[in-house]
Assembly symmetry: C2
Homo-oligomer: 181 residues x 2
């Protein structure tokens, strides 16, 4: 059985790492994660065999949360799929994508992550497809491309959900009738 403070610290490490990765991308060092969490590096290595293992666990946890969120929203039959997409976009756990990217940088992504990733992507593509059917999203992109656009927009480090780029991209994804000037 794990001591209470140890469990707390483990949690704290994961939370801190998630925040830092989110706002500054996957390059953050172990040293910095430790410091920000108010712990020593030694403690990180007590809880995770190495950096990769930590990142992996983080990716899994957040991907799983994201999948669960999407699934539950999908089940409750939303009025419009566009609204659903917005809701999902605003869900806070987009960081795993960047994490996966960071993992992929060195060695092959572990199968558990790859599977989760595919499932999430599939769910999103399904939503995008339905949004196109209901006429709220442009149809000249495949659902997969639309998801790709969403990923690219939302996974930048420190992406705020209300910055101009995000706004512009979302409007660009809408079904529109661009007027000739």
């Amino acid at each position: 059985m794990m001591r209470a403070d140890a469990r707390r610290n483990r949690e704290r490490i994961l939370m801190t790492a998630l925040e830092l990765f989110t706002e500054r991308g996957p390059g953050v060092s172990m040293e910095e994660i430790a410091q920000t969490a108010g712990l020593g590096v030694g403690t990180l290595y007590r809880h995770f065999p190495d950096r990769r293992a930590m990142v992996e666990e983080l990716a899994e946890i957040t991907l799983e949360g994201l999948r669960t969120h999407i699934r539950s929203r999908l089940e409750e039959q939303p009025e419009t799929y566009w609204a659903l997409l917005l809701d999902v976009k605003n869900y806070c756990a987009w960081q795993p994508l960047a994490l996966i990217a960071s993992l992929a940088g060195s060695a092959p992504v572990p199968p558990s992550c790859a599977k989760l990733w595919d499932e999430v992507s599939e769910l999103l593509a399904e939503i995008a497809g339905r949004a196109q059917q209901e006429g709220s999203m442009r149809r000249d992109l495949t659902p997969e491309q639309a998801v790709g656009v969403l990923y690219a927009t939302v996974c930048r480090p420190a992406s705020r959900f209300d910055d101009p780029l995000t706004t512009v991209v979302l409007d660009g994804l809408r079904a529109t009738a661009p007027q000739e000037p």
Copy 2:
């Protein structure tokens, strides 16, 4: 006077570096630039005192080209400023932005680059402003924000000008009347 082959090689180095930076971002190593150019690293250092100097020169050259291009287009009174913006976007020399970013990573950007950069940004903002006036671009962004969006879209490593993100962003920048689904 510089030997002819040396001049050729200098040129070759700059071209190669530009290509690599463009397609893979500012992290490319000297080693790799040399190899791709079919030269040894030693040769890079014969032509430039250090990496920074090389990147700087590259940034200056390309920024200057970009500025000239924009200016000349601006002078010939285009029919629509939107078209002008598209034209400018398609101009191939967007990489300097990434280069500047890379420079800014370590030490302060040299004044010559900063100046050019500001001038280019100003020109673009002017174009964006006029596009808004003529009604071809959405008005709920400041011209500077619009330029920022453009930068962010076009400066990604390996950004293709015809990939879905670019398309979506451009449409999103248009003056549109989004339909309610």
